[in-house]
């Protein structure tokens, strides 16, 4: 075990993947010698050469399209999109191509092994172009896997599993936690299964669900609730697509209540999908309406970020509303 922050864990995962398999390559804007603007690919060019870790021109559609081509040829491109806010120029390549390669060709061709990594989320005074959480757009696209880790241990295991996955993966990394989140991480290769949620705390009164950077926030709320004798079960979804409805439903059948928290705006956010599914699976067990604590239906602001975010106080209030319903 070694103490790592999330960036070091990601770097370590990439290093191991490249050492293990020659077909793994890393590229993106500033990814080469500089190691990426956040330094996730630090030293990889030095170690594996310019052919396997390189800068690309500044074109996200080019990056995604290039990755599609490489993956279709059988390699495992791990491409970085510098900020999740800038993934949209690549939207067509991802949604129409990456996601549908296997389906449209009857599995003649596929882009398994392709991973698009991208820092996402707010909390860094980035305003609306450096703070978005676009997971719901991609969750609406059959054929993609969408993964969001919450700490270094997960980041490494989930990224290695994503690279090994036979399906293309969009891997969103909470940039607010890049350096802030540290923990013990095994130095050897390991994978964390995609599509499985993690119950991070057992409880009996209510289930509180989140992913990525929001996990810290809900934990704060849950700790506040505990002081009032409310016992919360806490779940980290980890995989947005496919998502682990079974684990969530089992928890809700036990607790009878559910609060879902995400950073993205409420309307059309992934919490809506979860609420609808859980309502169907757990209808007779529910003792209060499923609560959603999300960003406002506005772009992510700069000056009034505190007011905007789905913070611990709003989550705490939602927990109490559900309990006192």
């Amino acid at each position: 075990m070694a103490k790592m922050n999330m960036l070091q864990a990601i770097n370590n995962a990439l290093d191991l993947a490249m050492a293990k398999d020659d077909s793994v390559v890393c590229f993106g804007e500033d990814v080469g010698h500089f190691g990426g603007v956040f330094r996730a690919t630090s030293k990889l060019q030095e170690k594996y050469g310019k052919a396997r870790c390189f800068n690309t021109p500044l074109t996200e559609q080019g990056i995604a399209g290039f990755a599609n081509g490489m993956a279709a040829q059988g390699m495992k491109p791990v491409a970085e999109i510098q900020f999740a806010d800038y993934i949209f120029p690549a939207f067509d390549q991802i949604v129409n191509e990456t996601a549908k390669f296997r389906y449209r060709s009857g599995d003649e061709f596929n882009v398994g092994g392709l991973v698009l990594r991208s820092p996402y989320g707010g909390g860094i005074a980035g305003g609306h172009y450096h703070s978005q959480s676009p997971e719901a757009y991609f969750a609406h696209t059959p054929g993609l896997k969408v993964i969001i880790p919450r700490n270094p241990y997960q980041a490494k295991g989930l990224l290695l599993a994503s690279i090994a996955s036979p399906d293309p993966v969009i891997f969103f990394e909470p940039k607010k936690l890049y350096r802030a989140s540290t923990g013990e991480v095994p130095e050897e290769y390991y994978e964390i299964e995609l599509g499985k949620a993690e119950v991070t705390q057992q409880g009996k009164d209510i289930t509180v669900l989140a992913w990525g950077a929001q996990m810290e926030i809900v934990q704060k709320a849950v700790d506040m609730a505990a002081k009032e004798g409310i016992s919360c079960e806490v779940i980290d979804l980890r995989s947005i697509l496919p998502w682990d409805a079974e684990t969530v439903a089992q928890s809700v059948m036990k607790t009878g209540r559910l609060v879902i928290n995400h950073e993205a705006p409420l309307t059309g956010g992934f919490a809506g999908e979860i609420a609808a599914t859980i309502q169907k699976m757990c209808f007779l067990h529910l003792e209060s309406p499923i609560e959603r604590v999300c960003g406002l239906d506005t772009p992510y602001p700069l000056a009034l970020e505190k007011e905007y975010v789905a913070d611990h106080l709003k989550t705490y209030e939602a927990i109490k509303r559900a309990i006192n319903f």
Binding site: G32, G62, Y86, H130, L304, E307, E317
Partner: protein, 394 residues
């Protein structure tokens, strides 16, 4: 058959490739480092008032950049981007335009913005995202914009302004306006799909837009030679069928001259035109960047000698339009003026909470109004957690 260009296509009967470097576009230089003109160069027609306004603008942005970078390091603003070494590109081009020509910038064009008359207070209000900021405190520092002075508000996603500029200029033409649009972008942004789409749209639809590439050698850490192969960005304009010119971006007279000609040509022929200004980004990419990780001090030193301001200053002095002693005192005065404005702006309140939901739509949709009402009730319950807005709820 249906391709009108077929008529102009010449034929040969031996196979031969046209090499990528067949097109070599020269660089226009007028002013030497010592403030004298190159042999054979003619200086553009510039009256004293304009020439001095250009100088003052360059000096202003240099001092502003210096001061605000320091303010960022002191933690007074979250982020900053300077244009050190590139002042002549944006000031020289803006000076060659009509005040009503539209400017669509990338983010490092404070020179053009200042030349247009954006006030020191307006700069500060944006940088401090306070309630007097025209953009209502929503964007990161340096994302300026002002309708009054025809400066489109900056958007962070790179290249998106390029096809928009084509459309804007096309609409100017349809409306019979005698104005152009100038569109600034970096050589990095010229790799985006939007660049290619925008140039092609403008060329095909004959939009009087001036595409202005600031080629400063780097896109964050990526040097130009890892950004593109071949003869820079200027040749791409030619590839799309428009006229192009390359200028020394540290030579304000060359930039001015080229832009003046480009504007005249664009308006007279209703055609787009591409200018590539070769300069160097002497500073860091932004306050979050450290260039020592990707380039050498020696390389930077070489470019320091190309300082666009000192060269122009020498020319102005030689002409008898500028007096060295006065110049020094202006710079000192400017420093304290900027510091004063900074102190004022940082004390101005943040935008009110109603601006969380305003301007998403013309009128807030019902969901937004409801979300705001709930938020206000929540803040009333926890006033200590939301100190910026809690004391100001209606």
């Amino acid at each position: 058959m249906t391709n009108p260009n077929n008529a102009t296509i010449t034929t040969v009967h031996t196979a031969e490739f046209t090499a990528g470097d067949a097109l070599k576009i020269p660089t226009l230089r007028i002013l030497r480092d010592d403030g004298s003109l190159y042999d054979g160069a003619t200086e553009p027609e510039l009256d004293k008032t304009t020439a001095l306004k250009m100088y003052d603008t360059m000096v202003f942005v240099r001092v502003l950049d210096e001061r605000m970078l320091a303010a960022q390091r002191q933690g007074r603003i979250s982020f900053y981007m300077q244009c050190l070494g590139e002042e002549a590109t944006t000031v020289g081009s803006a000076a060659a335009l009509d005040d009503k020509d539209m400017i669509m910038a990338q983010y490092r064009e404070q020179g053009a913005l200042r030349y247009r008359g954006f006030s020191l207070e307006q700069f500060m209000n944006q940088l401090f995202s306070n309630e007097k900021d025209l953009g209502k405190g929503r964007q990161m520092p340096v994302h300026y914009g002002s309708k009054d002075i025809h400066y489109m508000t900056i958007s962070s996603p790179l290249g998106t302004q390029i096809p928009q500029a084509s459309g804007y200029a096309y609409a100017q033409k349809l409306r019979g306006l005698k104005n152009t649009t100038i569109c600034y972008f970096g050589e990095g942004a010229a790799s985006e799909g939007d660049f290619h789409a925008g140039l092609n749209m403008a060329a095909v639809h004959k939009a009087p837009v001036i595409f202005f590439c600031r080629n400063n050698g780097y896109a964050i850490s990526t040097p130009a030679n890892e950004q593109f192969v071949g003869d820079g960005i200027a040749s791409r304009g030619v590839g799309y069928g428009m006229k192009a010119i390359r200028v020394d971006g540290t030579d304000i007279l060359a930039v001015y001259q080229a832009t003046k000609m480009a504007r005249d040509y664009a308006l007279e022929h209703n055609e787009p035109i591409l200018i590539e200004a070769m300069a160097y980004r002497l500073g860091a990419h932004s306050s979050s960047d450290d260039p020592s990780g990707y380039r050498s001090k020696e390389e930077e030193e070489k470019w320091r000698h190309n300082d666009p301001i000192s060269r122009y200053r020498l020319w102005l002095i030689a002409k008898g339009w500028l007096n060295e002693a006065e110049d020094k005192s202006t710079i000192d005065a400017l420093r304290s003026e900027i510091l004063e404005a900074l102190k004022v702006a940082e004390k101005v309140a943040k935008p009110g909470i109603e601006h969380l939901i305003s301007d998403v739509y013309k009128e807030p949709i019902p969901a937004l109004q409801q979300q705001l009402d709930e938020l206000k009730a929540h803040i009333r319950k926890y006033p200590d957690a939301y100190p910026i807005t809690a004391g100001r709820l209606d």
